[in-house]
Point group: C2
Chain length 165, copies 2
């Protein structure tokens, strides 16, 4: 595992799109989730999107936005961490960057979700203080919500209340 | 062509997702653009998304959002009109609904884009007072921007300045 020395984190820009897209299949172990990060998000939601580079190598990114329906909520849409930087604390730093911009915009609720198969993500969110929203069913003891991101999907929905300062 | 009597327009809801998704292939003449309307948009951006129904039939929809990077801008992401309601004035009404919410949020710039092949959309936007952003190349006299929505695409970018009241 690599350490976080010399890691630089900044807001994402549209020109980062190619870097992000080009790592997704590798970082997700072959799953092609590239369409989950349209460039439009980096154009219009860059204040809530972050990239981490070490030297010129992308180590992680977080794509989030402020809900325009729920004025107290921020949503973390997609997060990727280079396999060699997993468990390094980088995801936690990216989440905290997102919490900071939420709080600056008077938002104290952060939501995210993952597929029930993604134990790593469920463990991470639980450790980060997210609760899991109650759902009509359970998989291995984890509450599942149906039809959240599409009409028949099963997802684990996370919610965290931020401490306002 | 059907008329607009009894058309009801309201903000879109997450529960409209299935209705929208189920018409896309048909309304776009076989093109599968369903992934362009993730349900997440209807959850968190419903104040800028509209659906039009006549009786219980979907006649049109507009999916838009406020830019979080550019505080004066609204972006129209995806618009669909039932083939029998084209040239009925419905698209114009949906655009005006979007303009209204932009102006209420002190936004006076509206952006959108389309593929160069979509002459209908280019004609509609021109008629609606959109200008076409200058680009490095042209197709049949229309300026084209490269790499806007993805890294190698060619798109026609529209911009309209709204009259503030």
């Amino acid at each position: 595992m690599k350490n976080l020395n010399k890691i630089k984190i900044r807001n994402a820009k549209p020109s980062d799109h190619q870097s992000i897209i080009s790592v997704i299949i590798d970082w997700w172990g072959g799953r092609d989730l590239r369409s989950s990060v349209p460039k439009l998000l980096l154009i219009h939601f860059s204040p809530t999107c972050f990239v981490a580079f070490k030297n010129s190598e992308l180590c992680g990114f977080l794509i989030g936005f402020f809900s325009q329906k729920y004025s107290k909520e921020g949503y973390i849409h997609f997060v990727g961490i280079h396999p060699e930087f997993r468990k390094s604390g980088l995801a936690k730093i990216l989440y905290q960057k997102f919490y900071d911009v939420c709080l600056q915009d008077s938002r104290n609720i952060v939501r995210s979700c993952t597929a029930p198969i993604n134990k790593l993500s469920i463990g991470f969110h639980t450790k980060m203080g997210f609760s899991i929203e109650p759902g009509p069913s359970e998989i291995e003891g984890v509450p599942i919500t149906t039809g959240y991101l599409s009409d028949k999907d099963q997802m684990v929905l996370f919610k965290k209340i931020l401490n306002t300062r």
